[in-house]
């Protein structure tokens, strides 16, 4: 099982962070010359953020969200509309996060009171309505023509509009959000999340309010998607409704399951695999959907921990660092 509350040794932790930051730093050194590669790398960063959010919702507290594309869309359109009207990105992004967080609370509160599958229903409905709004409110959202010309931000006079600079902005957010996620998961919230996942009945009998924690996890998940959306808009310099249809949310779920739902590394592995594989193989997008959907089913049935758990097993076998433990 995932070991999110297991206290890691400081050395291991430092090693992990070094690798993480090292990889982020190396990407532009290797691919910096190629605008398309940099675009893909930035996009991967954004999708990791979304999946991390979804991991709070699905992975850590076992709720389904079919509204993640819509949350992302809300973040993207907020940033797009505000920056196009001359407001600063640094004002627009927090507002987008606030909007998605509140939207998450507003959706979660009524549906979590009812029954688990109602959350699927309500988020699905929400996703549909948001998509309809983006497509049909021409005066505001530009309908299907979208909103072109979204500026990239600058940071205290530092211009971030080049592809590499923007990559580093997304990377900075990724590092920050990874840190925040780690903080949350190592706090008492994280322990409560885990307790709910392991035995929700017992969790209630030690005083855990399921509603409060599920709602929090859901809203945090929404807010992460909101940030990802807010970064997506200036990356593409353009938003339109076709980036946020309902089945995009299905796609995020698949991404997370492939990586490993409920595992801290899951979103990273999932987003990287799902985004990179099509770059190496040739074929239609639909073929990838077929392949990834099949992989998802197989993983769900045989390895619910996703690729992360497979990697785990692999490393243990190969490195024999952590032989299976029996009582001391």
């Amino acid at each position: 099982m995932a070991n999110l509350t297991r206290k890691k040794r400081p050395v291991t932790r430092i090693l992990h962070w070094t690798i993480f930051l090292g990889v982020i730093g190396c990407v532009p050194v290797i691919f910096g010359g190629n605008a398309y590669y940099m675009y893909v790398a930035t996009l991967i960063g954004i999708y990791i953020i979304t999946s991390m959010g979804l991991n709070f919702t699905l992975g850590y507290t076992g709720q389904i969200s079919l509204g993640h594309a819509a949350f992302m869309g809300l973040g993207a359109y907020t940033v797009a509309l505000m920056t196009l009207n001359g407001y600063s990105f640094w004002l627009a992004l927090p507002l987008g996060v606030l909007i998605t967080f509140v939207a998450g609370l507003a959706l979660g509160l009524p549906s979590l009171r009812v029954k688990h599958h109602y959350l699927a229903l309500v988020t699905l409905g929400f996703g549909t309505v948001i998509y309809l709004l983006f497509s049909n409110e021409y005066e505001i959202t530009g309908g299907f023509s979208g909103l072109p010309g979204i500026p990239r931000p600058s940071f205290f006079g530092l211009d971030l509009s080049s592809d590499i600079a923007f990559y580093f902005l997304v990377a900075a957010f990724l590092v920050l959000l990874t840190g925040i996620a780690l903080w949350i998961l190592n706090s008492r919230w994280g322990r409560a999340f885990k307790a709910i996942r392991e035995n929700d009945m017992r969790a209630e009998m030690v005083g855990v309010s399921l509603l409060t924690y599920k709602l929090l996890a859901f809203a945090i998940g929404a807010a992460y998607a909101g940030i990802a959306g807010g970064l997506l808009a200036p990356l593409m310099k353009f938003v339109d409704p076709t980036s946020f249809p309902v089945h995009e949310s299905f796609w995020f779920l698949i991404m997370l399951i492939i990586g490993g739902s409920g595992r801290f590394e899951g979103p990273f592995v999932g987003a990287i695999v799902v985004m990179l594989l099509p770059q190496f193989l040739r074929g239609t997008q639909q073929l990838y959907f077929v392949i990834f959907a099949a992989i998802t089913l197989i993983l769900l049935i045989f390895w619910p921990g996703g690729l992360t758990s497979l990697l785990d097993v692999f490393f243990r076998r190969v490195l024999r660092r952590n032989p299976p433990q029996f009582t001391k």
Partner: protein
């Protein structure tokens, strides 16, 4: 003497079967009340209804004068009712220590403060004390699902003791625990009782029940068939009939 828990006309129906069929009794403050009855007589269901895990079909439960029927389980816990389960209920993937801390963390502070409280030494100390008492301190860093059933049972009990509840409800605490330790647990329960904690205990081991309890309530087919001191119950014809099918 005040009543800490009052149960009035409590019923729970599963489709056709009435598992609890109108039960009234009370737990007095500071007493150890035994709840006995043949298998399937509705004891565990009654516990579930009191603690909010099951929603009773009818009737009322009052805890320290406050109506707790239909309250959420976590609120009932925070009012001061702790319970163990017949089939142990733990957080199987967490360490023993984390299980213990989990049992107290929600009773302290606010939701927001729980995000920022990183120092847990106070709770850890308390947990270690209790684990020492229960003789499972050497397992504190083991994953809960890897320890033996009896040890899990002790852990379950330890979790209840973490938050100092006013009423402790134990569902067959002695089943699967060795006799020596059973005796120690009984001593500890008496000690806690002396300090003012009330108990409601389900147990099939008659010796334990008769020695431990001040009063006993007997259920059969979801109904209360007898109530009284251990001596009275031992000599009650109806009770003997229910148990031995007379």
């Amino acid at each position: 003497m005040n009543n800490i828990l009052e149960i009035a006309g409590l019923r729970k129906k599963f489709y056709q079967l009435e598992a609890v069929a109108g039960v009234d009794f009370e737990v007095r403050e500071g007493e150890i009340l035994g709840l006995i009855g043949p298998n399937g007589s509705g004891k565990t269901t009654l516990f579930d209804c009191i603690t909010g895990i099951q929603r009773p079909t009818a009737g009322e439960v009052r805890f320290m004068g406050k109506r707790i029927t239909r309250m959420k389980p976590h609120c009932i816990y925070q009012l001061g009712i702790g319970r163990t389960f017949q089939l142990v209920q733990l957080f199987p993937g967490m360490t023993v220590l984390d299980n213990m801390i989990m049992a107290i963390q929600e009773s302290e502070g606010t939701v927001l403060s729980r995000l920022f409280q990183m120092d847990e030494s106070k709770d850890e100390k308390k947990a270690i004390e209790l684990l020492e008492f229960l003789n499972i301190i050497h397992l504190k860093d083991q994953i809960a699902k890897n320890i033996s059933y009896g040890q899990q049972k002790l852990l379950d009990m330890g979790m209840v003791l973490m938050s100092k509840p006013k009423l402790i409800m134990l569902d067959e605490p002695m089943a699967g625990v060795n006799a020596t330790l059973g005796k120690e647990i009984a001593e500890r329960l008496i000690e806690l009782n002396r300090r003012g904690c009330s108990f409601l205990i389900i147990e099939h081991n008659m010796r334990v029940i008769m020695n431990l309890c001040h009063r006993i309530v007997v259920l059969d087919y979801g109904k209360k068939i007898a109530e009284g001191s251990p001596e009275e119950i031992q000599n009650n014809k109806q009770v003997l009939a229910a148990y031995f099918g007379g």
